[in-house]
Amino acid sequence: MRLEDELKEMLIRELKLVDVKPEDIKDEDPLFGEGLGLDSLDAVEVVVLLQKHYGIEVKGLENNREVFSNIKALAEFVRSKKPQA
């Protein structure tokens, strides 16, 4: 499975995004604010999910806003930290 699709499934499952299917999320759709409409509490939850599922430590959010902007950026970030992902 593409990492991008794996991330979509993880977000839907862990953030309990009812009525959203992975195919509804395009890789470059914004995740926060508009698009998927995630908020600040989801953002900190995603930090923990990256730790839990990929063992990646994200220190703080301020420097990482671009990383979380959409699925494409998130996948690139995960690959950069875990090349085998």
């Binding site: 908020d39 509490l41 930090v47 730790q51 220190k59 959010l61």
Partner: protein
Amino acid sequence: MSALPVLVTGMGCVSALGRGAQASHQRLLAGGRAPGLPTLFGADCKEYGLVFEAPAVPALPGAGSRTNAMVFLAVEEALAQSGLELASLHSTRVGVCLGTTVGCSLNDEVFYRYFHGKEMPGADSFVRYLSGNPAQALARRLGICGPAVCVSNACASGTDALGLARQWLLEGLCDVVLAGGCDELCRMPYLGFTSLLNTSPEPCRPFDRARRGLNLGEGAAVLILETAAMAQARRAPVVGRISGYGNALDAHHATAPHPEGRGLKAATARALDEAGLKPQDIAFINAHGTATLANDLVEGRAVLETFGPGAVLVSTKGATGHALGAAGALEAAFTLMALADGRVSPTLGFEEIDPAIGLAPTSAVTPVKGSAALSNSLAFGGQNSVLVLQKP
């Protein structure tokens, strides 16, 4: 509802500032703080938020928990100051109202780990929990037979417990209430706030442009509240008054405050209205001031809007950390002492104004005139609570 004042006749404080209300006030004025990494427990975090531990808290027999030990110490001091005889507490007209976050939860991690690991732990932990509700434990210890309850409103618990106790007295439910708040530092809130990215690995910087988050603290504060009739009848020393209380919800978000401080402004208006005061009557405001990005922005701007650019704002959390359920009660005590002294302490950790807030808190000992001050508390769930505290 009686229009007579609700009087404070004694106070007791335990926090990172040590034991003793007056000693704490003097240390606040002197400045100086020493947050550090937690020693009460271990944790494995990618970044370690500093904490403010209360020094030298003995394990008191019969306390059952560190939280309750701190309560008992604070109560001892408060009762001594008030001169209330212990025998007079054995009455249905005496109540206990304490704010707490961890004190009411069955969150004994050791017990749970055994259970989670499919072992069969002994149930001592559960029995301690059933006996350990701080308000009930205190009532049982002192033979108090009136209302006893814990207020569990997250970070506003201490303020709300004082507000609720005040309601009891005005309604005539009791004549005396031992009211305040308590919480010990422990792993669950430490890990929880860390996961929210709300904590700072540096000493916290309330309202500062470069603030990064809060430092957790711990403690207990108990104020003896009495009706005027009761205090006069026994010629009690009067330390101050609680003359107004406002409590309002934001209904905005589970953890973030309303961006325009809607609930805080409503709570402030209500508190002032009850006290029959206007913003210009307020000598200073003891802020919630946790040093998180969100809280200080919203609170600072709301204070500026309501009280104007000349408002004297202080966050004592720079010296105590965020003691959760104890915070509002500690801050009420600090506010009364600052009023009595005519001097407000510097906001430790503040150096540079945040232009987004547009208001700076105290950065030195600040003389104040006036007989009334506010204490704010904001909590998860959009809880906003404000007390008006006055000189006797």
